[in-house]
Chain length 524, copies 2
C-alpha cells in the first residue's frame, strides 16, 4: 500500500498544503513521503465527529464493540510486512522487536475484546428495594459504569505500534465505548498512516460510525493543545516526556470543565541488590542487568536507570561485570535525532558531575546511535544532588553505593514516584526485603522480585502506572485490562421500571455478568 | 461533657490564644465556648503524625480496622443527646432531623466496617506464571489495591454529622487505611469537638496510632490551603461551595506532587415532568415537589432547583399547586448567617431578572430563616441567560416552561454536570423517557424515576457524584461503599516468593475474598 501522507478525519482521508517528512534515524535523512499537517479546524472536525459517534456507539452492543477491536487486530495483521518495514525505517527499531511489538499490539486489542465480553468492567451493583423497611423504605438502586465520552490519545515514539495509533490507550478507550482522536507522533507518521488505514477499514467493516476514530498529525504543541482543550474531549491518554505530560495536565486542568489526564511520563526504575544475592551471583546479575539496560537502546519507560546496593567487594564484582557487558554492548540507533541528542546531553551532564564516576561506555558508531553508559555515585553524594536521579532516556544507568541498608532506605525516601522497583535477593535477604517492600509499595506501581523491569506483560494483574511523576494519576494503569477503568464513570438508576433500565441492569439479564447484589459478590 | 474548645492533634487536646465562637443561627448570637484556632504549625504536626500513623496502620489487620470504625460509631452513640442538642444550637437543624442524621452517620461507619471485611475493595487479580509459554514465559503477577496515604477531609456545614468530622469522607478514607486530618467547619465547632472526642477515644481504645485522626479548626482559607499543600497529604475530600472546591483543586494541582481532590460542589438537580404524568397528577406532583424543595430549608446538594416541562394547562396546575404549597411553607432557620445572606442575594437576583417570574414565596419570619421561593421562566429566555441556572443554596427553584420536548432536550444540553436528574412519568411517557435517559446519563450521576432527589441512600449501588461542576471528579461517588475506591491505588507484585507477598495474596488465602484469577471472576 503506497503511503499518501493524508490525515484520517472520521473515515475520510484528507491532505493539507503544509507538510512534514519523517526522518530515518539510522541515516538522519528524510524519508520521501510528505505528510499533511492538520489544522485546528481538522481537530475540531474530528472532535465533532467523535461526539456524534459517541452518541451512536451507546446504542451498539458490547458484542459488536468486541468485534470492532478484533477487526482492528485483523486489519493490522493484514498490513503484513510493509508495516514492520516502515516502522523499522522510521524508528530504527529492529524487525524482530517490531514483530514482537505487533504481536503485543494485536494481542492487547484481542484481550480488550475478551474484557468487553467479560462484563465485569461495568461494575454492576444492585441494591433491591426494601418497601417494608422502617423508618424509611429503600428504593431500588442499580449502578453500572458508562463511558466518559471521546478520548484524546497521544502516540508515543518508543512503541510505534503498542503505544501509538492502535496502542493500549486506544484499545482501552474503544473497549470502554469511547471514540478516539489520535494525535500521531511525528517520528513515525508512515507507521501511523498504515495503522490508521487499518482502523478506518475495521470501523467501516463493522458498521461503527465514522467518527469512532480520527488521526491528526503535525509537529509542535498547537494541535495537541487544541485537542485537549476541545470541549468534546473527556479524557486524555499520553505516554511521553515529563514536560509534555505536565503541559497537557495544565491545559486539561484549566479548561472550563477540567478532564482527567492519564500521562505516563518519567521513571528511573530502581534496582535493589541485596547482600546474599550479590554474594551468590554478582557477575550474573551484572550481565543480566546490562541486558535489561541496553534492550531497545534503553528506550523503555521501565528502563533500569538506577541501581542501589550496599557498597563492598560483592558490589565491585557486580559493577565490574556490568562494566564489561556495557563496554561490549553494540551501538544501537535511537528513535529520533532529538532523543539521541537529549541522551548525549544527559550522559554529558552525568560525566561532568564531579561526584559521579563513569565506569564504562558501550560501543560507539552509526548515526544517532546510543552508546551505553554506566556510572557510579556514593549515596552520600546522591542525597545531596538530585540531578543524578533525573531520567536519561536511553541506555544509561547509575549505581548508587550505599554505606549500609539504612542509607539505602534513605535514598529510596528521596526518590520520586516510579513505575517499577526491582529487587534481587536470596533467602538470607528475606528479612531486609520484608522491611523495604512497604517503602517500595508507596514508591512504585509494580514490584519485581528477582527479575528486571523491562518487558511489561499485558494481562489482568499488570500495573503499568505509579505515583507522580511516573504517571499523572497513580490510581490507574495504562497496560492491562484494568486500564479500561480510566474511561468509565458510574451512574445509578433509582426505581426505574424494568423496561427503561439499560439492558444489562434489567431483571434476569445478569447471567455471566459479575456484579454485587445487596453487597454480595456474584460471578453472574 | 463540657466543651473545651480545644483542637485534637493526634490524640492530644490543645488550645491556642486565638479563638472564635459559634453562632446560633436562630438568634444570630454567639454561643459561649471559645474555640481555638489552629496554626499552620498545628496542621504540620497533624500531618507528620498522620504520616507516622499511616506507616503503622499498614501493619494492622483489616479486622482491627473494621473494629475501629465500629468503635467510632459506638463512641458517637455514647455522646447521647448532648451531641444532638449542640448540633441543633449550632445549625438550627431540628432534633428529629439530627437524630436521623446521626443514624446515617453511625450506619455508614458500620457499613464501611462490613465493606472492609468483604475484601472486594482490594481488587485482587492473580495471573499465575506460565513457565512453558512461548516465545516468552509469563511471570507470576498479583495485584492488590493499597491505601494512598493521609487524607485531608473538609467538614461540610449542611450535614454536621454525616458529612463532617466522622462523615462519609472520613469513614471511607479510614476504611481504605488512610489516616485523616479534618479541617472542621467553623459553623459547628462544638459538634465537631464532641465527634472528635469520640473518634479520639475509639482510636485509643482500639490501639490505633494517635495520628490516625486529627481535627483542626479555624475560619478562613489559610489552614485549608496549608493542609492541602502539605506534602504528606495524598487526597482531599470536600463538600461545599463551588468557589471553595475550585480553590482546593487549584492548590492540589499546583503542588510539586499533584493529588486528587474529591470535591462535591454545586448542583441544581433538574426535575423532568413528562406529559402523561403531569396530566394524571399535576397537583400531587406539585405538592410532593415542594416537600423535597423545602426539606431542611433546601440546604441539600440534591435540592431540586430546576423543573423542566412542556408548557400547557397541566403544567399550570402543577405550578398552581406548588405555589400554594410554597406559600404555606413555614420559614426555617438556615445553617449560618452567611448561607442565609447568600440565599437572599440569589433570590433577589432571580426576582429582579425581568425574564423570571416570581410565583410564590413561603412564610417569612425568624432570624436567618429561609423563605421559600418559586419562579418560572420561558425556556427560550433560559437558553439566553444562564444566570437562572446558578445554584441558589436553599429552598428556591425555577420552573422552565418548554415549548416542546425538543426544546426541553435543548435546555438539558445547555446544563452543567449534576449530581442527580429526576423524571416523573407514566407508561404513556416511556418513549420520551427512553429518548432522554442517554442525555441524562451524561449529565448526572444518579437518575431517579418517579421520585425526588433528596434523601440519599447509603448503600452499595449509590452514586453521589456527577460530572463537573457537581463534583471535581465524576468518576467517583462520595456516598456509599464505592467511595472507598477514591483512596486506593493498585500495586502489582511480580514473581514474589509466597512468604514475602502481602498476606492476602499468598497462596490459599483468598477464601471468601472476591478476586480475578487469570481474568476469571471468583467470589473467593
Amino acid at each position: 500500500m503506497a503511503l499518501t501522507g493524508e490525515l484520517f478525519i472520521a473515515g475520510q482521508r484528507r491532505s493539507s498544503t503544509e507538510t512534514f517528512k519523517a526522518i530515518d534515524p539510522s541515516t538522519g535523512e528524510h524519508l520521501p513521503t510528505e505528510f499533511s499537517i492538520a489544522t485546528v479546524a481538522d481537530v475540531e472536525e474530528a472532535c465533532r465527529a467523535a461526539e456524534a459517534a459517541f452518541i451512536e456507539m451507546r446504542g451498539i452492543s458490547h458484542e459488536r464493540r468486541a468485534g470492532l477491536l478484533e477487526a482492528i487486530a485483523d486489519a493490522i495483521m493484514e498490513l503484513g510486512d510493509e508495516l514492520l518495514e516502515r516502522a523499522n525505517k522510521e524508528t530504527g527499531l529492529p524487525l524482530a522487536r517490531l514483530t514482537g511489538e505487533r504481536g503485543r499490539t494485536v494481542g492487547q486489542l484481542r484481550l480488550f475484546a475478551a474484557e468487553i465480553r467479560s462484563g465485569g468492567w461495568q461494575g454492576i451493583r444492585i441494591d433491591p428495594a426494601m418497601p417494608e423497611r422502617t423508618p424509611m423504605p429503600r428504593s431500588d438502586l442499580r449502578l453500572r459504569k458508562v463511558p466518559l465520552g471521546p478520548v484524546a490519545v497521544f502516540g508515543a515514539s518508543n512503541f510505534p505500534l503498542a503505544f501509538s495509533v492502535a496502542g493500549g490507550d486506544t484499545a482501552s478507550a474503544l473497549a470502554a465505548g469511547c471514540p478516539v482522536v489520535v494525535k500521531g507522533h511525528s517520528a513515525h507518521p508512515g507507521t501511523s498512516e498504515l495503522v490508521a488505514s487499518a482502523i478506518t477499514r475495521a470501523v467501516a467493516a463493522t458498521g461503527f460510525p465514522a467518527g469512532t476514530f480520527s488521526l491528526v498529525n503535525g509537529p509542535g504543541n498547537l494541535l495537541g493543545t487544541a485537542l485537549v482543550a476541545n470541549p468534546v474531549i473527556q479524557a486524555v491518554g499520553f505516554t511521553g516526556s515529563r514536560g509534555g505530560g505536565l503541559a497537557l495536565m495544565k491545559v486539561a486542568s484549566e479548561r472550563p470543565v477540567p478532564i482527567p489526564v492519564y500521562a505516563e511520563m518519567s521513571s528511573i526504575n530502581p534496582i535493589l541488590l541485596f547482600p546474599a544475592a550479590l554474594a551468590a551471583r554478582a557477575e550474573d546479575l551484572g550481565r543480566a542487568f546490562v541486558g535489561s539496560l541496553t534492550m531497545g537502546a534503553g528506550q523503555f519507560c521501565t528502563n533500569p536507570g538506577l541501581v542501589l546496593a550496599v557498597d563492598g567487594p560483592d558490589l565491585e564484582r557486580f559493577i565490574a561485570a556490568a562494566a564489561e557487558a556495557v563496554s561490549a554492548a553494540p551501538a544501537a540507533t535511537m528513535l529520533t535525532p532529538g532523543i539521541y541528542k537529549a541522551y548525549c546531553t544527559g550522559v554529558d551532564q552525568l560525566s561532568s558531575n564531579s561526584k559521579v564516576k563513569l565506569v564504562a561506555r558501550g560501543q560507539a558508531g552509526g548515526t544517532n546511535a546510543c552508546q551505553a553508559a554506566l556510572f557510579t555515585i556514593a549515596a552520600e553524594d546522591f542525597l545531596q544532588d538530585e540531578s543524578a536521579a533525573q531520567e536519561v532516556f536511553g541506555a544509561s544507568s547509575v549505581v548508587v553505593r550505599c554505606a549500609d541498608f539504612q542509607q539505602l532506605i534513605k535514598v529510596l525516601g528521596h526518590m520520586e514516584g516510579q513505575l517499577t522497583a526491582s529487587l534481587h535477593f536470596d533467602e538470607a535477604d528475606h528479612g531486609a526485603v520484608a522491611q523495604v517492600v512497604p517503602v517500595l509499595e508507596r514508591l512504585a506501581g509494580r514490584l519485581v522480585a528477582n527479575g528486571w523491569p523491562t518487558g511489561v506483560e499485558v494481562c489482568h494483574a499488570m500495573v503499568h502506572g505509579g505515583p507522580f511523576p511516573s504517571t499523572s494519576d497513580g490510581r490507574t494503569t495504562s497496560v492491562g485490562t484494568l486500564a479500561i477503568e480510566r474511561f468509565l464513570r458510574p451512574v445509578c438508576y433509582q426505581d426505574f421500571p424494568n423496561g427503561l433500565l439499560p439492558e444489562v441492569l434489567r431483571d434476569g439479564n445478569l447471567a455471566g455478568v459479575p456484579h454485587r447484589l445487596d453487597g454480595v459478590y456474584k460471578v453472574g
